[in-house]
Symmetry: C2
Subunit: 186 residues, 2 copies
């Protein structure tokens, strides 16, 4: 734990919703941001401590009958301002994605064509599963969202991103597979 990193801002963002404790932050991420953001308790609790130290939020222990006590965090004006600054700041650089499948393909000269083909088919299958997951999440959002539901709109934007990128990767699998299969026949 050092300073202001993306995890800090992600948590600051979530604290603007109704999720105010470490446990419910984790739940929120797992339910809603899971396809483009993950986080573990090992990061959440130390970060919440840091956020309080910096005066970005305040803690109050909430006693609910029938449930264990929980620490509820409320953003301070300074916290809101810090979040807003970050949101406005354009991203510095595109994330450099490591891609294991491209690495394996690149060294494919040392494999048989059959192995490369089954590698690609396995990858394609995983992408298709992901695509189906996106589609069912999307349907669930559409079904239960009322009109003017801003949260739903933003969820759909992020899902649309995931679907388009996954679709492109599946297309690539198909054309690449075709090339290997064509070569095999010749």
């Amino acid at each position: 734990m050092k300073g202001y990193n993306e995890t800090t801002y992600a948590i600051l963002g979530i604290l603007t919703t109704d999720c105010r404790s470490g446990y419910s932050i984790k739940q929120f991420i797992d339910r809603s941001l899971n396809h483009f953001w993950k986080i573990s308790y090992g990061q959440i609790y130390p970060t919440l401590k840091f956020i309080v130290q910096e005066g970005l939020a305040e803690v109050h222990t909430a006693t609910t009958s029938g449930k264990p006590d929980k620490n509820e965090y409320t953003l301070t004006p300074k916290g809101i301002e810090t979040l807003r600054k970050w949101l406005e700041h354009p991203i510095e650089q595109l994330p450099a994605e490591r891609n294991e499948i491209l690495l394996k393909l690149f060294f494919g000269r040392f494999q048989t064509r059959e192995t490369t083909i089954s590698l690609l088919e396995n990858y394609k299958q995983k992408l298709q599963t992901r695509m189906e997951t996106y589609q069912s999440i999307e349907q669930a959002i559409i079904d239960c969202a009322d009109e003017n539901d801003m949260d739903a709109m933003y969820w759909l934007f992020t899902l649309d991103y995931g679907k388009r990128v996954t679709r492109a990767a599946i297309d690539w699998c198909n054309v690449t597979l075709e090339k290997f299969i064509a070569e095999e026949e010749s």
Copy 2:
């Protein structure tokens, strides 16, 4: 430095080419795999040490006149076998990409529309720059590759992947921007 991780296999793969020293491995990655794999000296040298410890490669000091000595690594049969096993093994799970722009967009309820639009336009611009880079690399490969050049073929596959995914992301920017701009007019 612990055990067999992706970095180990990446280096094992590169050692099958003419790059046999830590320095030239770094160069190779920066020149050829840069768009989907990066690595720093801080990983390369300890990993090479580990590879030798495991008996996957052997070191020999090569003295070239006019240049400093360098440690040349040569794969052993065990090293080749280890690499081949990894190459054949299908990837376990799709990489879970953290996406800062989706995170910022998701919390866009706390920004003005103008800010969101400029965020997206900035992102789109970066994607376009990346696309141009891919295209110029591709052209360079096509220009200098002779027929039956297997390396060139694999490079083009990985570039094709990058181009398709980047294209999909740009398309997403466009449709999302349109929605925000339409909303602004209404």
